[in-house]
Symmetry: C2
Subunit: 362 residues, 2 copies
């Protein structure tokens, strides 16, 4: 059964796959003849334990996560990780490198500064965060505790076209808006984290993928809930995890496998992004502020040359079933987030609408 | 439409009202003609802002929360609050009083000890946590930063029959398993918190009700996500909140209003508890370890005089559609959690099953 759905370009919480929502609806009152909604199940009961471990194993398969990495299903969003990472991994007297490429890098930097000493390896602020730094622009600290970066900046729509080489220093990546958009080589990273509400599932779940040697480094007086070792040792069930969000994420992982996994998703995502950037570049009516070498596959900010037309654009887009296209208040203009769950038909509809709007208003 | 549902006595995550689940199912793909699942909505969009503020206003109405208290919708569970409370409210050189009445009190105490100096106002450990302390057993510190207690111990099934009088010292209550079970006088408390997964909604949401004068006391280097002032100033949207859990909690609040509010719920809850405790006390086959003056309305632990019958009891109960009756591993025996959403028919079915089991096995 297919309902008529608008295309929701929200940056997060964001569109979810329709078949996932249909399955969630169909099982809402009775998961697999258990007679229960998943949200009603004890997290220690055999039904939910099965759901939880299946989700983890599907995620491990999708990303090819090596055995010497733990996968944690936590709460608190990437914003909590901004503090927990230095609390756990930046020892007194140590230093961590941060690469500053936009709003979310800056937030991570701000929280780390409350905890310890950091070095800004480079910043692209002079470009108004419209480009990624070249590898030779990075000034890395020898023996840093770690290097932190944001592979995809959700607000500015800037994406690293490469993974920084940090040698023996662990690389930490906030992949909130890019995880699962394509294959990655997990071994290049010491620590990966992502809020779920973009490419994974509902808000309220945070995925952490952490290499074993980075677990167990928190100071002795660290509260249990803020210590990665506690969560790792307890299979993310030291306290009650966000069970329903974990279940929905598991449905999304199954859906991704059904689509052919991350290689297939990467092909589709690249095609969707190319379609939209081509439409923007083809026209003098629309403009992308981002360096073509660093344009995000997931978040596509663009402006109208005549900002007086912003409001009619948004109003008419909404009437055409194209939702949440307003750019972040700090940047202005438009932003189309085209995560995995955005069908190609949605990007086609947007591109057609943009052409028609230009024809009638341009 | 009514489905045949088992009765789920889990201590949490726990049973939810069937009509709430039906509404969630019916709106899952299309909330109020928005075309979206609530989990897909931007937390800053007008649809979710409406859902969020309606939930808060219904909760304020149910509990009679005065205007000088903020209501926060957070993540991380009560276990995170165990650390955040002393991080925010226990100044260096200060002292906080903790009343120790069971497993969850002890966990709160353990986390507070990592942060600062605490005094144990009293403990009922000598009773194996089967009673509440009398008011004159409490040794309170003059000018303590606060007094912390656990009005209802979920594991031991012990409930305070009174609210401790702490004068000008703020009283902090972990109400995870009792909030919304009856009316309370919020003015008696400085700070109330509760994990949602018992009487409120799904796991992954934590409710905090905090008096204005207790906000803004965190040290300057406190991470943003751990500072109540940040959440209060941002309407619980400093970062993306657990939107779907917030929405489901809102449906539960509406359901409670439809039942006649907390006075009506208290009558029903008292009746359910009395029915079950009477069945236990009437028989030598079953036993309640808890002092009758301190028996929980919500969590009813009981033992079989012959523990060799525990396993057949659980097996036959499950076959009769009575789920999750096993006691917590630290206590053993049985536990029936009979939160708001457990219908009286469920308690009736349990009591009948217990009588029949005694008749055939006793």
């Amino acid at each position: 059964m297919t309902t008529t759905r608008p295309f929701n370009f929200s940056a997060g919480p964001a569109i979810l796959p329709e078949v996932v929502l249909e399955q969630a609806r169909d099982e809402l009152l009775n998961w697999h003849e258990s007679g229960m909604c998943v949200a009603e199940m004890s997290h220690r009961g055999k039904e939910f334990m099965h759901i939880a471990s299946q989700a983890e194993s599907d995620l491990r398969e999708l990303l090819g996560i090596p055995d010497n990495y733990k996968v944690l299903f936590l709460q608190g969003g990437a914003s909590s990780q901004f503090a927990l990472i230095p609390m756990n991994l930046l020892p007194p007297g140590g230093c961590a490198d941060y690469i500053n490429t936009g709003t979310w890098s800056q937030k991570a930097i701000g929280e780390a500064r409350r905890i310890g000493a950091i070095n800004i390896a480079t910043t692209t602020e002079e470009s108004r965060f419209t480009r990624a730094p070249a590898a030779n622009e990075l000034t890395l600290t020898p023996n840093a505790a770690y290097v932190h970066y944001t592979p995809n900046e959700t607000i500015e729509g800037v994406e690293f076209p490469y993974v920084p080489a940090t040698g023996n220093v662990p690389l930490i990546a906030d992949m909130s808006s890019t995880l699962l958009s394509r294959p990655i080589d997990v071994k290049q990273f010491g620590f990966i984290y992502a809020g779920a509400q973009k490419n994974i599932g509902p808000a309220g779940l945070t995925i952490v993928i952490v290499r074993d040697d980075l677990i167990g480094k928190a100071p002795a007086n660290t509260p249990a809930m803020f210590d990665y070792k506690v969560h790792a040792d307890n299979g993310s069930m030291y306290n009650t995890p966000p069970t329903y969000a974990w279940y929905l994420a598991g449905l999304v992982f199954k859906w991704l496998k059904d689509q052919g996994g991350l290689t297939a998703m990467a092909t589709i995502n690249q095609r969707k992004a190319a379609l939209l950037y081509d439409a923007i570049d083809r026209s003098d009516f629309y403009h992308s502020p981002v360096d073509p070498a660093a344009r995000s596959w997931m978040n596509v900010p663009f402006t109208l040359t005549n900002p007086a037309l912003d409001k009619p654009f948004l109003t008419q887009a909404k009437a055409a079933g194209l939702l949440a296209l307003q750019g972040h208040r700090s940047v202005g203009g438009m932003r189309a987030s085209i995560y995995n769950a955005m069908p190609e038909a949605g990007v086609n509809a947007l591109v057609q609408f943009m052409a028609e709007f230009e024809r009638t208003q341009g």
